[in-house]
């Protein structure tokens, strides 16, 4: 299966169509402008659709986005990226990491794509589109927390439980529970802006994230490992992180394991 992150030439007056999983994308190169239509199908549609840069007629509707540019040439470049918010992953049913032990989770991160007009990456893409509809969620208490997206697939303990595809990257999360209490894990929040994207033989991967819980506090030390994950050491880097991870480890609230106190 060819990669969708490639350049396509669209001569003036032509339209090309991409079907990438649940996303339909049309790009038209009109005289002096670029027109973009996009549509994200609901989950009932077959996710395995994969059609790259096919010539077609432009849709009848008004384009969602228009960009006036006379000097940009004919090339359009699609770049895979992570969503613009942290992703919250659920392990299906609650699971605990015993005290003084470590566990390994694999979280599926839905990808987005960015559209650029030149071969070289510009500072700002024309548009960034999620490859599937992302549900909004909130990680934290209603008084303090952060806006996130929900991962559409559950966090699993073995990556082979997840179907390989081009619309989702797998993020290995290694949890070290060094506290003296069991660590219940109901939700895992991953700051995807710090992740690299790798292409392996079967799966797309991110670098590994280590979460170290030293004591019984809500925050954990988070470290972003460098290089491809141990599960696929031959994977090739295809996307740099949007925000370089800090050189020192961060203390973040990564797990959510308490019930809402607001239910009536």
């Amino acid at each position: 299966m060819a990669d969708f992150w490639q350049s396509a030439s669209i001569p003036t007056g032509k339209t090309r169509h991409w079907e990438i999983g649940l996303l339909d994308l049309w790009i038209q190169h009109a005289s002096g402008e670029w027109r973009i239509w996009h549509r994200t199908a609901d989950e009932s549609l077959e996710e395995g659709r994969y059609l790259l840069a096919q010539s077609c007629d432009a849709p009848d509707q008004t384009p969602q986005r228009r960009f006036a540019s006379e000097s940009s040439g004919d090339l359009v470049r699609l770049v895979p990226t992570f969503p613009d918010r942290p992703i919250v992953s659920y392990p299906g049913s609650p699971i605990s990491v015993p005290a003084k032990s470590e566990a390994y989770f694999v979280c599926g991160i839905p990808l987005a794509l960015e559209i650029y007009l030149t071969e070289s990456k510009q500072a700002v893409p024309l548009i960034s589109l999620p490859l599937r509809h992302l549900s909004k969620t909130w990680f934290g208490s209603p008084l303090a927390g952060e806006p996130c997206y929900s991962a559409s697939t559950n966090a699993v303990l073995d990556h082979r439980e997840l179907t390989p595809n081009k619309y989702r990257a797998l993020c290995p999360v290694r949890v070290f529970n060094r506290s003296t209490e069991n660590l219940p894990v109901e939700r895992i929040c991953i700051h995807v802006e710090h992740l690299h994207l790798y292409e392996g033989d079967e799966y797309l991967w991110s670098n590994e994230v280590s979460v170290i819980r030293e004591n019984e506090s809500d925050t954990s030390r988070v470290e972003y490992q460098t290089g491809p994950p141990a599960a696929d050491p031959e994977a090739e880097l295809i996307f740099e992180p949007r925000v370089e991870p800090p050189s020192r480890s961060m203390f973040l609230k990564t797990f959510n394991h308490f019930r809402s106190a607001l239910s009536e």
Partner: protein, 282 residues
């Protein structure tokens, strides 16, 4: 006829007068320039704290610098021209009482303003409701707060009113819950209704899936089964969320054949058969 040339002796009083004033004028100019420089330096010293301080605190600090430096400059200038402050301080006791009475409201507002800055019940840009007026906080000053209503009117509230009145800050917290109260016909299955509500909240793109929506069967109304449906959303999504969730809810209930009943009464007159509702012939 040539005019008589003024002699040096004739100009002596003028020189004397000028000599008396040159010193104070020069000293006053220096004091004013020094005041301006001091004000700029103090404001520059505050600048690195901009991100840590709230807009209200910054406003107070800037005004304190302005007023403080102005008072120092005015006192210095007046002293240069021979103004005696001891006499002023003597009179201040009597004048202070008079001014105190006159400035009672202003002082009350000023002290209330300091309380508001310290307590921070709202900040510039928050949407609040005060005494039934809803709007965006535009500025918070020492004496008053200006609210821009949603239909673009400016309403000024004295700070004292804000301290005394009930005040609702709509945008203080990042997420909010929108509660919908509605009823369905008595023949509806409550579990079916609750399943529809779960699906409506899950499918709406503005509704957060955490915190979980509140779905409650709240009671038996006069003409309907009462439900409460509370969905969480980010504060900035308020208008699109409200429009879309109400539309989605109505469509979903209609699609599932669940009726939202109008209030109705069954009136049986004495002439009607109580069993069948048919009119009884005499």
């Amino acid at each position: 006829m040539a005019a008589a040339e003024p002699s040096t002796e004739d100009l002596a009083p003028l020189w004397e007068f000028a000599g008396d004033w040159v010193g104070p004028v020069l000293a006053s100019s220096v004091a004013i320039i020094a005041g301006i420089v001091l004000s700029i330096v103090l404001r520059a010293l505050v600048r690195p704290w901009r991100k840590r301080l709230s807009p209200q605190s910054l406003l107070v600090i800037r005004k304190a610098i302005l007023y403080g430096v102005s008072v120092i400059v005015i006192i210095t200038v007046l002293q240069q021209f021979g103004f005696k402050f001891t006499a002023l301080l003597g009179a201040a006791g009597i004048a202070g009482i008079a001014i105190g009475f006159a400035a009672q409201t202003s002082l009350s507002n000023m002290i209330s303003g300091l309380f508001l800055i310290w307590e921070k019940p709202f900040k510039v840009g928050d949407v609040i409701i005060v005494e039934g007026t809803k709007g965006v906080v535009e500025s918070i000053d020492l004496l008053s707060m200006t609210l821009r209503t949603l239909d673009n009117l400016s309403v000024r509230f004295p700070n004292e009113t804000l301290v005394k009145s009930e005040l609702t800050n709509i945008t203080k917290h990042p997420v909010r819950r929108f509660d919908i109260y509605f009823g369905v016909a008595y023949r509806s299955d409550p579990e079916h209704v609750m399943a529809v509500l779960r699906r409506v909240s899950a499918d709406n793109r503005f509704v957060l899936d955490e915190p979980k929506p509140l779905i409650a069967f709240t009671g038996f109304g006069e003409s309907q089964l009462d439900f409460k449906f509370g969905v969480w959303h980010e504060k900035n999504d308020w208008i699109p969320m409200r429009n879309s969730i109400l539309t989605d809810l109505k469509k979903a209930l209609e699609a599932e054949g669940i009726e939202i009943p109008f209030p109705h009464r069954v009136v049986i007159t004495p002439e009607e058969n109580r069993e069948t509702g048919e009119t009884v012939d005499d």
